[in-house]
């Protein structure tokens, strides 16, 4: 690699990594906010906490927590683990096998919600 090509290559790499750091910092901020939201939501059903609210629906809190956790997981998977930038094959390789246990988990949760265990 000549000095000029090398310099051009380094500039490209720095620009790409700068963009990665910026995107990751935004992802990190979202993760913190979503985690705080999760905690606040959970507090509404924890007796003795300042946010405790007996009127709050247990189902709504539970599905809210599931949604926030799934959002957090999606952010980590797509932006920290860079699945967003992988090929279609890689995306399917990861997503399809996981779809079945996720479906099963949703059925289990829905069934537990029907029996109102929380």
């Amino acid at each position: 690699m000549t000095a000029v090509t090398r310099e051009h290559h380094d500039t490209t790499v720095h620009a790409e990594q700068h963009a990665t750091r910026k995107a990751s910092a935004i992802t990190f901020s979202f993760l913190v906010v979503l985690t705080v939201l999760e905690i606040l939501l959970a507090m509404t059903r924890i007796e003795g906490s300042a946010l405790y609210n007996a009127q709050m629906s247990g189902d709504a809190v539970f599905w809210g927590l599931v949604f926030l956790a799934a959002s957090n997981a999606f952010l980590v998977l797509f932006f920290f683990m860079n699945l967003k930038f992988e090929s279609k094959t890689m995306k399917y390789m990861v997503a399809l096998p996981l779809a079945f246990p996720v479906l099963y988990a949703l059925v289990l949760i829905a069934e537990a919600a029907w029996r109102r265990i929380w």
Binding site: S24, T35, A69, V76, L77, E86
Partner: protein, 209 residues
């Protein structure tokens, strides 16, 4: 052009490139491993869900509540360490050894703090009466969190190995594939904790029963 292609690390034939882009074979292997590991956690969490949803009494009198605040602190530590891992990988791509070691060191520190926090939590919970084997609540808590903790410990050892290699100049040439693999593993540990934190700590045990 991806950074990987820019550094000339693509080692694929046209056939593998068609399906996996510029991903290294190690990276594809790591994804398959993480997928199989994810199934282990899914199995444990589903088992926990079934036990909990089928139990007449989940939280027996005398057993302590889990501390949401303390677990939240551990969560922030782990998420922050994920961010520092991103910084370590970008430094490796840029062939910046000092930054790589700085951020990898911070990530290792995050892992150690998490493990110390978990040990502290276990000690207190055992003293307060949450003993493995005495209830499904206690047993599932210890099995799932310790299995995750084992992953954190593995990650710390793995990162120490990469740190030593990085300090020796292994990644100065721009071949950052090994750092990329440890990066994936560490984010996976963070990813799993998101679910452990939500399902084990955040779902209140007395709520609305």
């Amino acid at each position: 052009m991806s950074a990987e292609a820019a550094t000339g690390l693509s080692i694929h034939t046209s056939e593998t490139q068609e399906y996996f882009g510029t991903s290294s074979t190690g990276k594809i292997g790591m994804w398959i491993f993480l997928l199989s590991d994810a199934f282990s956690f899914v199995g444990l969490l589903l088992g926990y869900g079934m036990l909990r949803s089928g139990a007449h009494v989940w939280h027996h009198p005398g057993e302590p509540e889990l501390s949401v605040n303390f677990a939240a602190l551990l969560t922030i530590v782990l998420v922050s360490s994920s961010m520092s891992m991103v910084m370590a990988l970008t430094a490796a791509v840029e062939r910046n050894r000092s930054q790589l070691l700085l951020f990898l060191g911070l990530t290792i520190l995050g892992g150690v703090v998490f493990l110390a926090g978990q040990a502290y939590e276990y000690t207190h919970l055992i003293e307060e009466g949450l003993v493995f084997g005495r209830s499904a609540y206690a047993s599932t808590f210890y099995v799932i969190t310790s299995f995750h903790g084992l992953h954190v410990l593995t990650g710390v050892i793995y990162m120490l190995f990469i740190f030593v290699r990085g300090a020796g100049g292994k990644y100065d040439s721009g071949d950052y594939r090994e750092v990329e693999l440890v990066d994936l593993f560490w984010h996976f540990v963070d990813l799993v904790w998101v679910f452990v934190f939500t399902f084990i700590y955040l779902i209140p045990s007395h709520a609305g029963a």
